[in-house]
């Protein structure tokens, strides 16, 4: 089983990001970058599939700056076999440009599965996986929370509003992974040491101009201080009054 996992370098969700002076991008100084958490599920799933099959290859592909090599090595430390970085000074804001570059790289790779996280936690676009599927003319299942593969067919479950949807698909296919699919492993210390020695190929990403432009970034409005109305049951009438008259939510 040959599996590609596409991963993105994103700011750690725990770091407080600042908007840069141009008002359109993030100030990266002091920001810690990590492997996109949804992509961790994809890496883990690929490793488990390969382990189950007893043979195969897990290739990690990323499009990003040179520093994304570190992100790829995190996946190599978890156990992936080799990495490819499509180097770009900036990740285009237009997901289609990213998808085109990735599709070109993946096209002739002979992959049985191409996995993505369902979204990147920096731009929340949910785009690139399905776009790559479309460009490669492959079936696509998004937000997979459970996966079974038998021979050349797969069954995936996705959590949808109020229930679970079960989808069958033929391989090769593109899947995007959701929380709950698995419990990603920690990169073991030996894995971290081994990752240094695994092949990591660098290529220049071929990127078009794209059709999107960021006009501005604004932080969410500051939350106003809360108000303590009182304590215990005695406070309920006043709370109801405020919810009705001031907040107008009742």
């Amino acid at each position: 089983m040959k599996i590609a996992v596409c991963v993105k370098r994103v700011p750690d969700s725990e770091t407080r990001v600042k908007i840069a002076s141009d008002g359109k991008s993030l100030d990266e100084t002091g920001v810690k970058f990590i492997l996109n958490p949804y992509d961790e599920f994809a890496v883990e799933e690929a490793l488990r599939r390969k382990e189950q099959a007893g043979s195969g290859e897990v290739v990690v592909v990323s499009l990003g700056p040179a520093a994304a090599q570190e992100t790829i090595r995190t996946a190599l430390a978890m156990g992936a076999d080799r990495g490819v970085l499509l180097e770009a000074d900036r990740v285009p804001v237009d997901g289609l440009e990213v998808a085109k570059a990735l599709a070109a790289e993946l096209k002739n790779g002979g992959y049985d599965l191409i996995l993505f996280g369902k979204m990147a936690i920096d731009d929340y676009n949910h785009q690139v996986g399905p776009m790559v599927a479309e460009l490669l003319d492959l079936p696509c299942v998004t937000a997979v929370a459970h996966l079974d593969i038998a021979g050349q067919r797969g069954t995936a479950e996705r959590e949808i509003e109020g229930g679970v949807e079960t989808v069958e698909f033929p391989l090769p296919a593109v899947l995007t992974t959701d929380k709950g699919l698995n419990e990603p492993r920690y990169p073991a210390l030996k894995g971290i040491m081994a990752a240094k020695k695994k092949p990591l190929e660098l290529k220049r990403a071929a990127l078009g101009a794209g059709g999107l432009e960021v006009l501005g970034l604004t932080p969410p409005p500051q939350r106003k201080d809360g108000k303590v109305v009182g304590e215990g049951p005695a406070a309920v009438p006043e709370l109801l009054r405020l919810l009705r008259e001031e907040a107008k939510v009742l």
Binding site: R73, P187, L189, M193, A195
Partner: protein, 395 residues
């Protein structure tokens, strides 16, 4: 869910670490957040070592991580090893103590003084956490002065017979194998001290849990009694010779403790900062008052100094240039520093600071043990005093 620990890095010390060193640190940090933090308070209160975590720690490769891969270890450099100790002790000194003993006091002497067969037999199993070890040097009447030990090993036709008692032995009741230091010659012959690998199920060997500890409660500390314990000839560590052998082990462990103490201080400082910003008294956060700011400024300063001290110590060790006295300075400084940070955090937290729900008091109590074991603070002062003056003030 509690927020993930972000570390403290005022001087961009991260920039001095390699990518692998940071990756190791981040892995252990995440593991501690996910697996140790949720259970440590309850284990501490119940006085139990969280033994269920041992297989996971082994899986990650935390035991003897700076020993070579050919013996089943991770083969990390000493800086990465130090960062592991830091992150474990950020969780709890007891868990770091477990790893210190297993790696630096049990696996290290087998690696350094053992035969090739002993190494191949024991090290992979210990790295895998299948065999847990303990290190028996201290005796009821010989703490700071292990040279005086009265445990003996007598050679017979078929092996050795050990007799004596060991006190304050970390992992003592949990261990499958004990490294026992004993005199093979006359009571005053310090050169005759040798190390033995003693399976704890050997007849005549018993371990008794030390009751009533108010410190390192999430760690097993035991008294060992050896009564006519017979072990085969190949139980002796062939290259161990004299007191300097166990002291070499202690230097390894002290090195890790110097890093570990920084971890405990980081945990406390982190707690102090968030509490100071959140707790409102007299109409503003207590962090807005100069007294609390002075506390925090002092903590950050001392932590930053200790971080740089550890890193340079580790770089020297990686270059094979470190001296035991340099390790003494770092153990002495960092443990004392961490104890101060823990105490100040405890105080800054007011009444909440005495609860197990917060970390400061647990760390404070733990660090009092760390202050005492592996050479008390005073003993390291004397080691440095001797280094400076050339004059021995021990006796």
């Amino acid at each position: 869910m509690a927020p993930k620990f972000q570390g403290v890095d005022f001087y961009d010390v991260d920039g001095l670490l390699s990518e692998e060193e940071r990756a190791v640190r981040d892995t252990v940090r995440a593991w501690v957040d996910d697996n140790l933090m949720p259970v440590i308070a309850e284990h501490y209160l119940e006085g139990r070592f969280p033994k269920h975590l041992v297989p996971q720690m082994a899986e990650l490769g935390l035991f003897g991580a700076n020993l070579p891969e050919e013996y089943g270890c991770a083969g990390l450099n000493h800086v990465a090893y130090g960062l592991i100790m830091q992150e474990l002790e950020r969780g709890d000194s007891g868990v770091r103590s477990f790893a210190s003993v297993q790696g630096a006091l049990v696996m290290y002497p087998i690696f350094a003084f053992g035969s090739e067969e002993q190494k191949r037999h024991w090290l992979p199993k210990m790295a895998a956490g299948e065999v847990i070890g303990c290190f028996g040097l201290t005796e009821p009447d010989y703490g700071s002065n292990p040279a005086g030990m009265i445990t003996t090993a007598r050679e017979t036709k078929s092996g050795w017979i050990l007799n004596g008692a060991k006190m304050w032995i970390t992992n003592g009741s949990t261990a499958h194998a004990a490294i026992i230091w004993a005199k093979t010659g006359q009571p005053d012959d310090v050169e005759s001290i040798r190390g033995f690998i003693v399976p704890t199920d050997t007849q005549g060997f018993s371990a008794k849990d030390q009751k009533g500890k108010l410190s390192l409660r999430a760690s097993d500390t035991s008294e060992l009694v050896l009564q006519d314990v017979c072990v085969p000839k190949d139980a002796v560590l062939p290259k161990s010779a004299g007191l300097k052998s166990p002291l070499l082990c202690l230097t390894q462990a002290r090195y890790g403790i110097a890093w570990g103490a920084v971890g405990a201080a980081l945990a406390c400082y982190d707690e102090a900062v968030s509490y100071a910003k959140a707790r409102v008294m007299f109409g503003k956060p207590i962090g807005a008052f100069q007294l609390q700011q002075a506390r925090l400024a002092e903590m950050l300063t001392e932590i930053t100094k200790a971080q740089l001290l550890c890193l340079q110590l580790g770089r020297l060790k990686d270059q094979g240039k470190v001296t035991p006295q340099q390790v003494s300075l770092a153990k002495r400084n960092n443990v004392s520093m961490a104890t101060d940070v823990a105490r100040e955090t405890r105080r800054l937290l007011g009444a909440n600071g005495i609860l197990a729900e917060y970390q400061a008091m647990r760390h404070l109590a733990n660090l009092e043990s760390v202050y005492t074991y592996e050479g008390t603070h005073d003993i390291h002062t004397l080691i440095l005093g001797q280094e400076i003056t050339g004059l021995n003030a021990f006796n």
